[in-house]
């Protein structure tokens, strides 16, 4: 009787927890959509500038969100682009080559890095910018420094997801290629890495989300309220999460606050698009590696 009660209790508790999470997510997204969608308009993106002129880079957008969108996209692409090769390589090292105490040491180090608060990573990026500025006069906090700091922030996730994805491959598959005469590297390239792609891509998707939403790091390393579309890697830039933070803390009227909701909706859409791109690339890669003749 008691065992049966526990059974029912645990089952319903897991169900309720699942539903609770789902409803929380729907509430937040629904709230944002209701508040944000009315704010969406061409002028929210481009201000008083004609969109055609913006795309041809003839005129700067002064009041719209377009520079922030461009800044966020560039930031995500740069940061994830820098972190991914390093993260995958380090993950492969941990899963396939690292042994004994050296492996434990690296694992501990990555775990510590994963636990560092993003504001501290931001401070680190800021210090790097200051140190570099002493030697090169042109370097201030900028897009490149932000991207580097964000890459550092997401690196531990990428390393760990790669490592776990590769380590969880069953030994039946792990031994297949060596039994057919594969070298260790061939086994990794042709079997183990492709097999881990689904796990690895979920790590990359998490990293994309983290880079797109992070405010603490970029606040200290180069984001500003008004900079226009960044002209180079060494210029200051705008970003959506910073805009949302800035507007929500110092809005002057309801209409301005509304643009903050609009920006949040745009940020969600950008994240969704980046996820879809990552998902599509993963499927194409698996298709090419395994099935094309």
């Amino acid at each position: 009787m008691r065992a049966r009660f526990t059974e029912i209790f645990v089952t319903s508790f897991t169900w309720v927890s699942g539903l609770l999470f789902l409803s929380a997510a729907f509430t937040v997204i629904g709230f944002l959509l209701v508040k944000g969608i009315p704010a969406l308009s061409v002028s929210l993106l481009f201000g008083e500038t004609a969109p055609v002129d913006v795309f041809l880079l003839r005129r700067q957008v002064l009041t719209g969100l377009f520079p922030a969108i461009a800044g966020t996209c560039l930031l995500v692409i740069l940061a994830v682009g820098m972190a991914t090769p390093v993260g995958l390589a380090a993950g492969i090292y941990l899963a396939e080559y690292g042994r004994g105490s050296l492996k434990n040491f690296f694992s501990l180090f990555y775990d510590i890095l994963a636990g560092v608060p993003s504001i501290v990573i931001g401070l680190f990026g800021f210090s790097i910018a200051i140190i570099l500025h002493r030697y090169v006069n042109d370097i201030y906090p900028c897009l490149l420094i932000s991207a580097l700091a964000l890459a550092l922030l997401v690196l531990p996730y990428l390393i760990r997801t790669t490592q776990f994805a590769m380590e969880s491959i069953p030994s039946k598959i792990r031994l297949t290629a060596p039994a057919l005469g594969a070298t260790k590297l061939q086994n990794i390239v042709y079997v183990l890495f492709p097999r881990s792609l689904p796990g690895i891509s979920s790590g990359i998707i998490l990293a994309i989300g983290r880079c797109a939403e992070d405010t603490a790091v970029i606040m200290l390393t180069g984001v500003v309220a008004s900079a226009g579309i960044p002209g180079s890697l060494l210029s200051a830039y705008e970003a959506l999460p910073f805009y949302i933070y800035y507007i929500s803390s110092q809005y002057r009227d309801a209409a301005e606050l509304q643009t903050g909701y609009g920006a949040a909706v745009i940020l969600l859409v950008i994240c969704a698009c980046l996820f879809l791109v990552a998902f599509y690339l993963k499927n194409r890669l698996i298709e090419r590696m395994f099935y094309s003749r």
Binding site: A179, L180, G181, Y190, V191, R293
Partner: protein, 230 residues
């Protein structure tokens, strides 16, 4: 140790012992297996039969705590080699000594890519050669007629028996001199098992086969020599 190795011996072990940590699984085993024959290895579970097979492809070396003593020789291209000699390259050894596991292990690729995979690993690129070898390996494994029109399909869509023949074909494509099979029919129905038995009988002229089996009737049907581990 016998001083003279007779001419038709293909595989030979001398005072072979094997431990997993403190657990001793093989003790002081000296056996010989003749070439172009099917040798069955029988005995109760846990007596080191699978470990014994792994001596010859050296796949046990990635298992932590595993340790081997003694020597193992095989005759490749009519030359005796000590397979634990430093000069032996593992990929080369495993191309000459094919392995088929208990559960079929097709890679998540098309049938064609599975069969041609060992060629890719050894650097054979010419499409004509690859196509020809794939066809010949599939024919040797009695699988060609069943899959010739669906070579681009996922290999995992095949039935269990077909998957196991696919794995045998994949091992045969490199023309190995020795084929190790670890209970290859234990997950298959009787009919599929019989096809694999016929297939083994048809390739034993080219290939020395070591086969672990639990089925006495299977051993009676196809084995030329029986080695019992107990």
């Amino acid at each position: 140790m016998k001083e003279i190795i007779s001419s038709n011996i293909k595989i030979k072990t001398v005072n072979l012992s094997f431990n997993y940590g403190r657990l001793s699984v093989l003790k002081d085993i000296s056996v010989e297996f003749p070439e172009c024959s099917i040798s069955a290895i029988v005995g109760p579970s846990g007596k080191g039969k699978s470990t014994f097979l792994m001596i010859f492809n050296r796949l046990w070396e990635t298992i932590p705590g595993a340790r081997m003593e003694g020597e193992a020789f095989i005759r490749l291209k009519n030359k005796w080699i000590n397979i634990y000699d430093r000069s032996v390259s593992l990929p080369d050894l495993r191309r000459s000594v094919g392995t088929v596991f208990q559960t079929p292990n097709p890679l998540p690729m098309s049938i064609f890519k599975n069969i041609s995979f060992p060629l890719k690993l050894s650097g054979v690129k010419e499409k004509q050669i690859v196509d020809k070898k794939v066809e010949s390996a599939l024919k040797q494994a009695f699988l060609w007629e069943e899959v010739k029109d669906r070579l681009n399909e996922d290999a995992r869509s095949l039935s269990g028996g077909q998957q196991q023949r696919l794995c045998i074909a994949r091992s045969l494509i490199l023309d190995p001199e020795i084929l190790l099979l670890d209970e290859p029919t234990s997950f298959l129905d009787a009919e599929s098992g019989r096809i694999i038995e016929d297939l083994l009988l048809s390739i034993k002229e080219r290939c020395t086969i070591l086969l672990i089996s639990h089925y006495m009737d299977q051993i009676r049907r196809i084995a030329d020599q029986v080695e019992t581990f107990e």
